[in-house]
């Protein structure tokens, strides 16, 4: 009696397999015509490829070339500095330095924390009113007071401007009496 057939993969791998599964598959194929046919077909394909890849002789000079390379003096070890300045290492280093310089420049010239946008807007608005805007109800800075001519009691310079006689003197001259006393 033929036991149940192994999988197609197991049969294919059994062509060259050396494990227990391969052995079992080969034993099974001896009693199962279908599996035996698969195994034989695969073995034929394998033999075709094996024949195609028949051994090719390498050049008889190959050993001489290998020996020459083995006996030639090893290249002098490079110093740390020379290996550091190899282009392969130098380019990333240069790129890193350039990047660091860019970052440093950006940090140095970054604008400091200034007034808030609201304060700046208010300043600009005030300057506008002081210089350009006509005096009116909308002007909160009282420019009208500054611009109007001074008059009456509000004028702190009234006395000197009117030049009246100084109180308590005979002729209004505060120095008359002092002159008379011979000072």
């Amino acid at each position: 009696m033929v036991m149940s057939c192994p999988s197609y993969k197991e049969i294919i791998l059994a062509v060259a397999g050396d494990g227990e599964a391969a052995g079992a598959a080969r034993r099974h194929a001896r009693e199962c015509a279908a599996c035996s046919a698969i195994l034989e077909e695969q073995a034929r394909v394998d033999s075709l490829f094996k024949a195609h890849c028949a051994p090719v002789e390498p050049s008889p000079f190959l050993w001489a070339r290998i020996e020459a390379r083995l006996t030639q003096p090893a290249p002098a070890p490079e110093s740390r500095w020379s290996s550091l300045f190899k282009p392969a290492r130098l380019y990333p280093l240069a790129a890193a330095v350039l990047l660091a310089a860019l970052i440093a420049t950006a940090v140095m010239f970054r604008p400091g924390p200034g007034p808030s946008s609201e304060t700046m807007l208010a300043d600009m608005e005030g300057a506008y009113y002081r210089t350009v805007a006509p005096v009116g109800e909308d002007n909160p800075f009282g420019v009208q007071d500054v611009m109007e001519p001074l008059s009456g009691d509000d004028n702190p310079f009234r006395l000197t401007a009117e030049a009246g006689p100084v109180a308590g003197t005979s002729d209004g001259n505060p120095f008359t009496e002092a002159i008379a006393e011979g000072l």
Binding site: A16, W63, I66
Partner: protein, 193 residues
């Protein structure tokens, strides 16, 4: 060359590790054919295969002290050769491998040396060689290497797993896929003809 007994191989490798040139030469003589043919199976160009084989042996002999298990020298050598192949492909930045017309011709020539070399057989042999070569070239490198190691070099799945540094399951799966691919290629050719 006959297969070396494990003890003899280990002794030879030990002498090579100690720097004995004659031991290195004997190791080269013993392994060069299989390494060269493994490489040629992957790159399909004889000149490239020779350069890679040379690099692989130089690498191996210069780094013998790095080999931990002396009995695994062969697998180690295969792995170095395989790495050299991959490096070569990376340098060329292409996994496309050109067909080696010289190789194809040589196989076709072998067919023509059969007992009955009539022109029709010669033509068929040459065409079959092209089909096989095409199938090999169409296989991705990862599949091609395990297929060649299994089918051409008769390595066990475990040995292949050590050489290519992949799990046994992954190796078996790729060998299975490559076998099915190869069979389909041959089938197409035979049903067409």
């Amino acid at each position: 060359m006959d297969e070396l007994k494990e003890e003899a191989l280990v002794a030879l490798v030990r002498r090579a590790v100690e720097g004995e040139a004659e031991a290195s030469h004997l190791l080269y003589q013993h392994f060069v054919a299989r390494i060269f043919n493994f490489v040629i199976g992957l790159v399909r160009v004889k000149e490239d295969a020779e350069d890679i084989t040379q690099d692989a042996f130089v690498q191996a002999f210069q780094n013998m002290h790095a080999l931990k298990d002396l009995a695994k020298f062969e697998q180690w050598l295969y792995r170095i050769a395989r790495n050299e192949v991959y490096q070569r492909f990376r340098r060329k930045k292409t996994a496309e491998v050109p067909l080696d017309t010289e190789l194809i011709t040589s196989i076709a020539g072998d067919d023509s040396k059969r007992a009955d070399p009539n022109p029709e057989d010669q033509c068929l042999g040459s065409e079959l060689s092209k089909v096989i070569e095409g199938a090999l070239s169409d296989l991705p490198l990862k599949m091609r290497e395990v297929f060649i190691l299994s089918v051409v070099h008769d390595k066990s799945y475990k040995e292949i797993s050590e050489i290519v540094n992949r799990s046994l399951l992954a190796v078996k799966t790729d060998i299975y896929r490559a076998r099915v691919f190869a069979k389909d290629a041959i089938k197409k050719y035979t049903t067409r003809g």
